[in-house]
């Protein structure tokens, strides 16, 4: 399980990681832009993400560039797409070192995390190719390893994440840190927004960064989709900061992953949640979600129009999935301004995010508990949840089983085929789509 977590970390980082292949660092007094771009990639290949970022900043012309003395350049190029994407990718990787992220880790009882524990010559991805049992101690949740393994070989799975919580750490604390982290996401958005202004923008993520067997090429459609992802992240942070969920996570399980509360007690806790916060961020969520959907659609349409050479590529075995995804995103996007039938789900379910944002669900205003404890299980009260999403869609008790089974099928579709271009790539000792 721990290795799977690492693989996930590696993959996520790799998808967003930036850099390019190349040789040594430029050391001439006034290097050209291509030389500086090469220098940045060299830094990336060695896992020095902070220096790569500073080099890209120098090309763009930001003050931060002065921290890298060798790459000062007299004429900055603020519109340089490769530098913008490169810096955005560096910033994505560096998110794990930001103070709000460190605060979240501390809440989970974990030490601060550094990119060097994943990338570069001492990083886990490299070590996974050279050692049978590479050192995992610098990775988050290492102290939960006993829980992953289980004293009797029994796995507690997701519970292991909360085995070392700081007492009193509640979900609004996470939401608040996420909100702070969005300042860093804003600068990523700013860079990607400039980058996509160049129609033929392209970037090659160097395989040395993640000890892979092939570079990852990014094209314009990929960058637009990444931008959509950043806005989606902001919307998610806004949603997390909109409803009450004040549960002390340390009260749920012990250090071995065993439950500290009975299911009946968990029901009591859950039934106090889901009230709409007075300081909710749904107005911001609406804007960010709308922007995310717009960019996502633009990217999908680029791919469907035949964009090639990136991670998102059309092929005979994924064309129908791209078409379906495009329809689904399109219908959700249309629902931002009114009622729209949700594609891929039968019987027809109409979504209305416009109404949802105009009349947001408030659990405190519903005269029912959301859950009951029944037959040893925590069971949702349908009437409560129907009312919670009543403004968002025309879900009824009549349709819910069919709707959820269809939705499950839609989720279970082979979406990995959208990423055919990188399926089979190696990231350290891990293979995309194939495990270790």
């Amino acid at each position: 399980m721990f290795k799977r977590t690492l693989a996930l970390v590696g993959l996520v980082s790799i998808i967003f990681a930036g850099g390019c292949s190349g040789g040594g660092g430029g050391s001439t007094p006034e290097p050209t832009v291509p030389e500086q771009l090469q220098t940045a990639k060299t830094y990336l290949e060695t896992g020095d993400i902070a220096s790569a970022r500073a080099t890209y900043s120098a090309i763009i012309g930001d003050a931060a560039a002065t921290t890298v003395a060798k790459v000062i350049k007299s004429t900055p190029e603020p519109e340089n797409a490769e530098a913008r994407v490169g810096r955005a990718l560096c910033d994505i990787m560096l998110l794990i070192e930001k103070a709000p992220f460190t605060a979240i880790l501390a809440g989970f009882g974990q030490p601060a995390w550094a990119t060097s524990s994943v990338f570069g010559p001492t990083g886990y991805l490299y070590l996974s190719t050279t050692e049978t049992n590479p050192d995992e101690s610098a990775l988050p949740f290492y102290n939960a390893r006993d829980c992953w393994k289980g004293a009797t070989g029994h796995y507690h799975s997701y519970r292991c994440f909360i085995t070392h919580m700081t007492s009193g750490y509640i979900i609004p604390n996470i939401a608040a840190s996420l909100n702070e982290l969005m300042t860093s996401v804003d600068s990523i958005i700013a860079d990607l927004s400039v980058a996509i202004g160049t129609a033929g923008a392209a970037y090659n993520i160097p395989k040395a960064l993640y000890t892979g067997d092939a570079d990852i090429p990014l094209n314009h459609a990929d960058m637009v989709q990444m931008l959509a992802g950043m806005y989606m992240l902001k919307a998610a942070s806004d949603f997390a900061n909109s409803w009450n969920f004040n549960i002390d996570l340390s009260s749920l399980v012990d250090s071995n992953g065993n439950s500290l509360l009975s299911k009946a007690q968990v029901v009591t806790l859950l039934n106090q949640q889901f009230g709409l916060r007075a300081d909710n961020r749904l107005s911001s969520a609406r804007t960010n979600l709308q922007t995310a959907l717009t960019y996502s659609l633009a990217s999908l349409q680029e791919v469907l129009a035949g964009a090639s050479g990136g991670v998102l590529n059309l092929s005979t075995d994924n064309q129908s999935i791209y078409n379906d995804l495009n329809s689904l995103v399109s219908s959700v996007n249309n629902s931002m301004s009114g009622r729209a039938a949700l594609e891929q789900v039968l019987p027809i379910v109409e979504v209305n995010l416009n109404d949802f944002f105009n009349n947001p669900a408030n659990g405190d205003a519903i005269a029912s508990d959301p859950f009951v404890y029944s037959g040893g299980r925590i069971v949702a009260v349908e009437a409560y949840w129907q009312q919670m999403i009543a403004t968002a869609c025309n879900y009824t008790l009549r349709t819910h089983i069919k709707m959820f089974s269809d939705a499950t099928r839609a989720i279970a579709r082979p979406y990995y085929k959208l990423f055919n271009a990188i399926m089979g790539h190696k990231f350290g000792n891990f293979q995309a789509g194939g495990g270790a």
Partner: protein, 199 residues
């Protein structure tokens, strides 16, 4: 000879198994047949409200009320329980009359019993109900009351009636004391009460 004996034994065992699986408790099947007959009669005479109210007529309201108040039943005195069951009965009748399954267009409804089993003290009758609104999975939970079968609860498309009342009642009893809770039920009854058509 030995092979023929073996075949016969297998046939008997399999036949016995299927006979038991198909038949189920005969009284539950009879109950369902009678209920369907009564609903059909009501619908054929143009009385859709009456058809819906048949569910209430066949309810064991004390058993249902106890399920709805499972988390608080022991806190209620006998007289409070009696008041509660009476009010619940009246509310359910109004709700069924207005919001249940059948309309006057459902004279040709179908109700196919798919499975009968026993679970948690109930006889669980799983049916497929075909009405103009569509095809529904309707599960009826029966209990024996003085040698008669009565409905203790039912579930439409996975939504259990008692669970939804229970969620509502738990909320109210966290907010109000028992007396205020019963008062709220009485107010609710007054707000939804309309004359109920004769079957």
């Amino acid at each position: 000879m030995r092979r023929r004996f073996f075949r016969t034994a297998v046939f008997l065992i399999v036949s016995l198994f299927f006979f038991q699986a198909e038949a189920g408790p005969p009284s539950a099947r009879q109950f369902m047949n009678r209920l369907v007959g009564e609903i059909r009669t009501a619908l054929n005479s143009g009385n859709a409200q009456g058809a819906n109210l048949l569910f209430a007529e066949h309810f064991d309201m004390t058993a249902f009320g106890k399920l709805c108040l499972e988390d608080h039943w022991s806190e209620f005195s006998t007289s409070e329980r009696d008041r509660y069951v009476y009010l619940l009965d009246q509310v359910i009748r109004q709700q069924l009359k207005n919001k249940m399954l059948f309309t006057e267009n459902d004279r040709n409804f179908t109700l196919k019993t798919d499975k009968i089993s026993r679970r948690d003290g109930f006889i669980v009758v799983e049916n497929t109900l075909g009405i103009t609104k569509g095809s529904f999975k309707l599960v009826i939970f029966l209990i024996k009351d003085q040698k008669k079968l009565k409905i203790a609860d039912y579930e439409v498309e996975g939504a259990l009636l008692s669970r939804n009342y229970r969620g509502h009642f738990n909320y109210l009893l966290r907010k109000y004391d028992r007396e205020a809770f019963l008062q709220k039920m009485a107010e609710k009854l007054n707000s939804i009460s309309q004359p109920i058509a004769q079957r």
